[in-house]
Amino acid sequence: MQSILKTLLSRPEISALVMLVVVVAGFSFMAPQFASYGNTRVLLFSLPELGIVVLGVGILMIVGEFDLSVGSVFALVPMLMVIAMGRWGVPPIVAMLMGFALALAVGYINGWITLTFNIPSFVTTLGMLFMARSLATVLSGGFPPPFPANLSTDLFVADLGLFRSSMLWFAGFALILGIVLHFSNLGNWIFATGGQSQAAADMGIDTRKVKLFCFMLCSFLAGFAGMITTLRLRSALPALGEGLELQAIAAAVIGGAALTGGIGSLVGMLVGTTLIRVIDNGLVMARIDANWFRFAIGALTIVAVILNTWVRARARRMK
């Protein structure tokens, strides 16, 4: 019994799960229609676009690095795709591949600069936040590029009733990355590199490669999520995803990822994402001024970290 409790309390996502239950119960009580089919649908429609970004940001945090540029990549990648299709007449599949190549390149540059010059990724990706956003705006030339009128977006955003097909992509990414992170040797290297990179390197792990991989994965997922949003809106907006990086980091932190690296879980990322979406949506349903959204996320982030720290210390003291 003791040991089951200890195992439970040692899980990084435990406080987030408790908070999610409390918040859902609270909103259901305050706004009966919160738990309705219609509203669940609204919630699930918006979940994947943030969730996919959080997966990348969270894994990058576990390996001990940051990415503040995800919001800008979220706009830049689909901007290139739509311009390639709408202005240059490139076939959709090729345009997509161009966009993903750009995303991977941004991630590689973030990682390469951070690791080669040994500077904080916070700084590198802050710079990239501005540069990628600027590129998205310059590329668009001031007004949104024409979106191909007869382009089918069903593969990514078809309405499937309770959710859109984007949910399936999110579930797929979450499943694969969950297995990679928690059950594969690569996952073990990611945790080791973030937890104590000297030890990881001394045990023969190429920590540079592992980090580069995580940077590239993070950028790729941000670009992918941006593509989904753009397909849903059927318009490429240069201002898309502004402030998204902070929401994504908040979701990862609320879900138990430690800023110092080496701690976090996939379930935590899912719970953190859901909490943020639930609060966003619940405030509206409960007819609370939506401007409280950021206040709530901010407070929640702080409370989550305090809770996490406290719970972890408690768990460690138990036999």
Binding site: T7, S10, I179, V180, F183, S184, N185, L186, N188, W189, F191, A192, G195, Q196, Q198, A199, A200, A201, D202, M203, G204, I205, D206, G262, I263, R316
Partner: protein
């Protein structure tokens, strides 16, 4: 100061020389850290089944020498031979691949990870589901071997899922040693492994190193405490300011002579 040191120098010609069977042999190793000459023309060797005690004052270059042998740092000059063949130890992986295991002066463990995961960092046993070196870890094997290793080091009350941060310094060191024991090596390097250990734990480490001898495994054992290494060493190598100042069979010297030499 220098004069006194010179006085105690063993004549270079009387340094013990490697045999043709030497497990590892280095010639003229050089290492600079910026303007610090951490290793200067260091020759070093270890024979199979031999325990070499490596001693010297703080900053003498002991850790630098073993970091080169374990592939953690590249040498700036010199040659390294392993089992008679010249080798390039440009990564810890390369060194481990040859059978060189290292127990570092700091405990090379990831605190937030479990004992079982720590034991296999970088060398995780994999299941059949593997593509290009990346695959699912064989958790059962990991836990099984970790449990057995914990028994070997008398840590039976701990589950292999315990995180390393919950262990005492001595217990962590014991796990590091268990890890090295598990990956049966040809050469074991121990950089002050008895640093955080109790008398009882220290004796266990010393017994363990002595037992490796019988299996033909060579060891390089670094310690500040001559009383720890003298009894189990076959040969003592002393360093000062990046140079080797003595390389002598235990039978040809005494603890008192050595104490004079290194302090």
């Amino acid at each position: 100061m220098t004069a006194r040191l010179e006085e105690h120098f063993q004549a270079t010609e009387t340094f013990v020389r490697p045999t043709a069977e030497a497990l590892v042999r280095c010639e003229g190793l050089e290492k600079w850290y910026g303007s610090v000459h951490a290793l200067a023309e260091v020759d070093f060797h270890a024979e199979p089944g031999e325990i070499v005690g490596l001693v010297g004052d703080n900053g003498a270059g002991k850790s630098t020498l073993i970091k080169i042998l374990s592939g953690a740092h590249p040498a700036d000059g010199g040659r390294i031979f392993f089992e008679g063949r010249e080798v390039r130890l440009d990564s810890p992986k390369a060194a481990m691949g040859l059978g060189i295991e290292t127990i570092y002066q700091y405990t090379a463990m990831v605190p937030a990870m479990s004992i079982a995961r720590n034991m296999f960092i970088g060398r995780e046993p994999l299941t059949r589901f593997t593509i290009g070196g990346i695959g699912l870890m064989d958790r059962r094997t990991m836990v099984e071997h970790a449990t057995r290793s914990l028994t070997n080091i008398d840590l039976t009350e701990r589950s292999p899922d315990t995180t390393v941060e919950e262990l005492s310094g001595g217990q962590r060191q014991a796990v590091a040693i268990a890890r090295a024991m598990y990956f049966k090596s040809k050469l074991l390097i121990l950089d002050e492994p008895t640093n955080h250990l109790s008398v009882k734990e220290t004796n266990k480490v010393l017994d363990y190193v002595a037992s490796l001898k019988e299996q033909g495994i060579g060891s390089i054992f670094i310690s500040h405490n001559l009383h720890h290494i003298f009894p189990i060493s076959d040969r003592i190598v002393a360093m000062a300011r990046g140079r080797k100042i003595a390389d002598i069979k235990k039978s040809d010297t005494t603890i008192d002579d050595l104490t004079d030499l290194i302090v």
